[in-house]
Assembly symmetry: C2
Homo-oligomer: 492 residues x 2
């Protein structure tokens, strides 16, 4: 079986293991367009489960969905001074709106007569087009708050791309809210970070550290960027979701004012927040092993697979009757089940394939099981097998799925906790950073020192974390005063 899929081991080459796994588990592949991926049906099914859960959580916190244009007038990007620095660089530019047949009959060419007066940019993020719209929606405090989210594709021209982790086009959701007061907007930014952390931990089974970004890692145009940071198995951090308090920057850039209760004109306060298909990369790298994907039951498209082992058609018929009854009982509990009785693949092939695809629980029924009223249960997280009675198997499996969900999280949490270390001087920092993981260290608060550390060690400040040690100290590099330890890591 191992040779069938021939997956590189994590210990040999983690990066290659990831690239192979994404393709072999049928999650995604490169397309004919540089940097743009095809998300294959199995990968998309996981993304759909993520979307559905996040969407429910957004709606439960009062948000509604809307849709804004794909294209943004070039001039919009220049309206907010910092935003343009961050986003008006590597993006796809639409300059023409028509093709025509080539005169030499060789195909189609761009029609030079169809040049746009103003070029349009494929959205790298939608603050500008949305705030130009909000201007018409907001006159008075009665129009506030606006709590909109959109599920959309965005595009940022990336030079080096990796499936899910960094692609030119990616799918995401972007929330854009408008508020009457600073306090309310700040609360919203924190509320949505907590929604992301809840989702990451309770659905993705991925422990995260919440915190706030330093100035140089902030979203372009934000006053504060809140982040959740996760640790991958290779010791690199992965920023998994961000929520921005934008102050009045975009309201001022697009002149969005409202009459408050005292009939006074004020600029509107804003937030934006987003997670993307990058979470697919985080999910894969958090839990998977050398046999393939390990999916948390809460996000697995197939939670249970049932495989029959039989000598002849007569035996298959008897096994199928029992398996279908078990599948029906499981489905009644809301569990997604696949009964795989395909006769053109051997059981061993199926076992390897479902391990590769990360199906959390595998049930196998053979001839002896039929005699004994038993079934073999294999859990994907530990690969542990046991034989149990068929009586009450649905309840047993339901419980097991929750246990797997918890176990995957606990395993990731222990690994993460074991890899948060403290460095008290720069030499120590440089040693530890080579081993990977998070490092809590003192920093003098300046972008210059931050840049120097990044240049010399490839480590960045992931965030000023919530909690942990908040005692002041001295910067490990410059010896200047440090307000508190911040969280460093090398990152995706």
């Amino acid at each position: 079986m191992a040779e069938l899929k021939n997956l590189t081991k994590r210990s040999e080459n983690y990066s290659q293991w990831y690239n192979e796994l994404v393709v072999k588990a049928d999650l995604a592949e490169q397309s004919a367009v540089r940097g743009c991926m095809v998300i294959k049906p199995y990968g998309y099914a996981i993304w759909e489960k993520m979307q559905r859960q996040l969407d429910d959580m957004f709606k439960a916190t009062g948000h509604v969905n809307a849709y804004f244009p794909l294209l943004i007038p070039k001039s919009f990007l220049s309206r907010e001074a910092e935003h343009v620095e961050g986003f008006a660089k590597e993006c796809a530019v639409v300059t023409h709106y028509r093709l025509k047949n080539a005169e030499d009959g060789s195909g189609v060419v761009v029609d030079p007569a169809a040049r746009l007066e103003e070029e349009l940019i494929i959205r790298p993020t939608s603050e500008t087009i949305i705030w130009s719209t909000y201007k018409n929606w907001i006159q008075s405090y009665r129009d506030l708050p606006i709590l909109c989210n959109q599920w959309a594709n965005v595009l940022r021209w990336e030079m080096r791309t990796r499936l899910f982790l960094r692609t030119a086009e990616f799918l995401w959701q972007e929330g854009h809210t408008a508020h009457a007061t600073r306090e309310e907007a700040e609360q919203e930014a924190v509320r949505m970070l907590n929604v992301y952390a809840d989702f990451a931990e309770n659905y993705m089974a991925m422990p995260v550290i919440k915190g706030v970004k330093t100035e140089s890692e902030r979203f372009a145009g934000a006053i504060d960027t809140y982040t959740i940071e996760a640790l991958m198995q290779d010791g690199k951090a992965l920023q998994s979701g961000t929520s921005h308090f934008l102050g009045q920057n975009f309201a001022k850039a697009f002149d969005v004012q409202f009459l408050d209760k005292e009939n006074k004109l004020s600029y509107v306060w804003a937030t934006s927040w987003g997670v993307s298909t990058r979470l697919m990369g985080a999910l894969i790298m958090s839990h998977s092993d050398d046999n393939g994907l390990v999916l948390p039951p809460h996000l697995a498209p197939i939670q249970v697979v049932i495989v029959p082992i039989y000598r002849n058609q007569e035996q298959l018929a008897a096994i199928s009757e029992k398996a279908e009854a078990i599948a029906a009982d499981l489905r009644k509990r809301g569990i997604s089940v696949k009964y795989d009785n395909a006769d053109n693949k051997r059981p061993g092939f199926k076992f390897a394939d479902y391990e590769l695809k990360g199906v959390p629980v595998r049930l196998v029924i053979g001839g002896r099981d039929m005699e004994n009223n038993t079934i073999e249960v294999m859990r994907r997280d530990t690969l542990g097998k046991e034989t149990v009675s068929c009586d009450g198997i649905d309840g047993y499996v339901a419980g097991l799925l929750e246990e797997i969900q918890k176990n995957i999280f606990e395993k990731a949490r222990k690994f993460r906790d074991a890899n948060i270390r403290i460095a008290d001087n720069y030499g120590q920092f440089k040693e530890i950073i080579e081993e990977g993981g998070f490092i809590l260290a003192h920093w003098d608060g300046t972008p210059e020192t931050e840049a120097r550390i990044k240049e010399e060690t490839k480590a960045t400040i992931r965030c000023i974390p919530d909690g942990f040690d908040t005692t002041p100290g001295v910067c490990m590099v410059t010896g200047k005063p440090s307000a508190r330890r911040v969280l460093f890591a090398r990152a995706y």
Copy 2:
């Protein structure tokens, strides 16, 4: 109330009524980008209900979702000879991938150094990029069928746009399937047309005529295009969904062959099928009236609104307790309910607003209702009011919602049926077409005659319909033989 919203009457100016209604009911609006719309939260909520239902129906018929790139290499469009004629014209062309700061400090300009070697087109439809992908997915008959759908945005540069009906960017789903045999692909194309018809009639409450397009109205690259055609209240037809049997055209263009069971190489057979946010326009124009939207309960984001009428806070408290209990009972039945106790709007304003928004059932509780244990029920479709007992109100409303769903459909069906007429000569045809509606008439089967009719009457052949009279006759224009009557109309 009427002046509050000031909606143009349908009889005065149908087109203006539609444009105003879309904006006033908060469904959509024009954006800063020519031809691209903003779908507002209330409009998007209806689209989400459509999406969810269609997605369930696609999955119930064995389809899975996937995602393919937004951008298509220009050369791909030229691969299929007819496809290029249809789609490689009015589309958005990406020529550059970077902006830079203007030297005069005036903003950002396109960086001439960042010109793409091959221009990329924003997908107007995805056959080409998908079939270039399927080439890698298909080797043998075991890899077939592939039954993929994608929910996506597409862009076609339209000169004259109208919200939902014709916009440059629009949202849609596009199914793309691959099959081993011609028969299987043809069956798939018909199956999906039936899914669309089922959705249109049982969810949108919009009767449709199924049929097949003539050669000149076919999708560019299809062998057969199946369609569902609906009739709007102004007597114009609206093509509401199409399903294409593509033969082996795209398989040949992208060299997609498979080894069949006899180990022989054959080209793969294809279908594609799609519906778009255009359905929002169809939904609005099928049922709505001079007071605003009329939504079928199966797609209404808010199915029931409860409005209290009160003299003081004490009375409001008592009414609210009762209203909340009723709302809870309705929600237990899966009905979406809004209790609107906002105290900054008068009841009359609320009534007009929910009528405008098409909420199917309005419940009103006032002081006398409290004394009598009654409630006033208003149904949006007929605007009929009655006062009923609060006992069993949840069951009553549940039944009423189904009755409204049926009634809206029946009303539209009667209107449609009364507007399918027969023309036996061209003079009669020209008279009837001025009155609107469908016309069944004989045609000689040539594109020339079809073009002449279109030029002279603005009517097109909507389809060669399933059913109706299939007796041969003579063409109303040329007197040449006609195989059967076909369905004409002026159309959106």
